[in-house]
């Protein structure tokens, strides 16, 4: 299946390397997806329109079954929209197709590959020589703090460690967009909080555009620049909320008035 992710629309020209881009890197236009089924089929997402700006961290909230995973799978090129479009802005430099890094709820590591080999996989697929790939993977291992576990098999990792490896695997190919579908959903609350901080650190170090699905309002407010709220089935855009809390943010912020006000608005929007 050919991915529907290649038409430039937003910026007409790629900016010179190094200069920031003050416009969308990704534009989603009237996106709808209906799963075929009896009678009219199952409308998973409907008429979604939004943009992602460069280096923006956007969270998606919504009740279960509101099409959050479906949206991620469309953006990742795993599902073709029924109507509407997804456009990436032209990339700096050469005309390569946009790269998208995905992390799912499960780490999905290849059990026959060690930690380092799992991280080098996307590079190998792109034809990067193994030596160079290993070098880059070693840097990522350091970034996620798993030094000493390079040659460990996935079965010997804890859930949090495995998820960090999945994050490293998504980041190592220097993706234009990082998609996270409840990446910490399977982790316990404490690990989850730590991983949130870790993710912020990675995001700041790597300057990525991130779209992350989560079920937690406070997680969304602590991490993101913007929160998109989807309605229950079919998933439509209920709210596009800018999170203007100062950074760096920490757990203490939960108890401030602006945080509480934003949380209240989000909770009201999630039916």
């Amino acid at each position: 299946m050919k991915a529907a992710l290649d038409l430039p629309v937003c910026c007409d020209e790629a900016p010179p390397a190094g200069s920031p881009r003050d416009c969308a890197v990704l534009k989603v236009n009237h996106l709808s997806l209906t799963f075929p089924g009896e009678r009219e089929g199952l409308r998973a997402v409907e008429d979604l329109t939004f943009e992602l700006r460069e280096q923006e961290f956007v969270c998606v909230l919504g009740p279960s079954g509101s099409g959050k995973s479906t949206l991620v799978r469309v953006l990742a090129g795993l599902l073709r929209p029924t109507s509407g479009s997804v456009h990436f802005a032209p990339l700096r430099g050469e005309g390569r197709p946009p790269r998208v890094g995905v992390v799912f709820q499960q780490a999905n590591l290849m059990p026959w590959r060690t930690v380092v080999e799992n991280i080098t996989l996307p590079l190998e697929l792109q034809g990067v020589p193994l030596e160079a790939a290993r070098q880059q993977a070693a840097e990522m291992v350091e970034l996620i703090g798993l030094q000493g576990f390079e040659d460990t098999w996935p079965r010997d990792l804890s859930g949090g460690m495995a998820q960090r490896v999945a994050l490293a695997r998504a980041l190592v190919q220097d993706p234009d967009l990082l998609l996270l579908d409840e990446p910490f959903g399977a982790l316990d609350a404490l690990t989850r909080e730590r991983m949130g901080g870790e993710l912020l650190r990675l995001w700041q170090a790597r300057q990525k555009t991130v779209l992350m699905v989560t079920h937690s309002i406070s997680e969304a407010l602590l991490l993101s620049d913007r929160v998109l709220v989807l309605t229950a089935r079919p998933g439509r855009l209920a709210l596009d909320l800018t999170v203007n809390l100062p950074r760096p943010r920490d757990e203490e912020m939960r108890y401030t008035a602006p945080f509480g006000e934003l949380a209240r608005r989000l909770r009201a929007a999630i039916v």
Binding site: L78, P111, E124, Q173
Partner: protein, 273 residues
């Protein structure tokens, strides 16, 4: 007695076996040989009915030193290995096709299932008539008998590739060939190797069946001739050689598994954090 009370006992036996496994094996082998020798002596059985272990050993040694046993063994081994390779290669290719295409599966599966109902012993004479008493017909019989278990395990292995790993490969824009190499082959390997392990022992049976039907060489032929001459000790010597052959092949596949599936068998490191 409650089963719970039995447990420490079995555990103890297992622990004993673990620690002194090779010694226990030796003891049990010696005991079996002794029982055999005693049976022959007490029952005064003639050697053409049941030779004593000493007679079998002597015959084995004689056949070994005059080179005939090695010659026949080598011949049979060649058939077994050629048949195993050819059969599993074809089964793997067809298995990949069947796993990929439901049309192909629906088209071929009636024949594949039916072919399993035909006993190989019944087809072997036909193959010898068609392809002569030489090595080729034996290789064909081995390949035939190896084919099915390897085919089934290839299909089962490929079908069991997790969907979420397939999605992952697609999200990384992997080509079909890359998906085959980096996902499907390694994911299907454990089940596939299980099929190969069964195939390896079946292949030995195939070769002997073929040689029984019509051949002038090989361990099956040797058994046939020795039987005709009431040289029962030689029959035993050939059978033991076949057992060793089958075990060696089985062990070889297990070694291959240990090597290729290190991620399942490697000892766990000191409990990671």
């Amino acid at each position: 007695m409650k089963p719970a009370a039995l447990e420490p006992l079995t555990l103890n036996a297992v622990r004993l076996l673990r620690r002194h496994g090779h010694w226990l094996l030796l003891v049990s082998l010696l005991a079996a040989l002794a029982a055999w020798q005693i049976l022959v002596t007490l029952a005064k059985l003639p050697a053409f009915i049941l030779p004593s272990p000493v007679q079998v050993a002597a015959r084995f040694w004689a056949a070994l030193t005059d080179g005939s046993l090695l010659r026949h063994t080598f011949y049979t081994l060649s058939e077994v290995i050629a048949g195993l390779l050819a059969g599993s290669l074809l089964a793997t290719l067809l298995g990949y096709g069947l796993a990929r295409s439901h049309t192909l599966e629906r088209l071929l599966s009636p024949y594949l299932v039916a072919s399993q109902a035909i006993p190989i012993v019944a087809v072997a004479p036909l193959l010898v008539i068609w392809f002569g008493p030489g090595m080729f017909s034996k290789v064909l019989i081995c390949a035939l008998i190896v084919f099915f278990p390897v085919l089934v395990n290839t299909v089962v292995g490929l079908r069991a590739v997790p969907d979420n790993l397939r999605d992952l490969m697609r999200a990384m824009r992997a080509t079909r060939l890359q998906t085959l190499r980096h996902l499907e082959i390694p994911a299907a390997l454990p089940v596939f190797l299980g099929g190969l392990r069964i195939g390896a022992t079946l292949s030995v049976i195939g070769a002997v069946v073929g040689e029984f039907v019509g051949s002038d060489r090989g361990l099956g032929f040797l058994i046939n001739v020795a039987r005709g001459q009431y040289d029962t000790a030689l029959v035993f010597a050939a059978i033991f050689t076949l057992i060793v052959l089958a075990l060696a092949l089985y062990g070889l596949v297990i070694l291959l598994e240990l090597r290729l599936l290190r991620y399942q068998h490697a000892p766990r490191p000191e409990a990671p954090r």
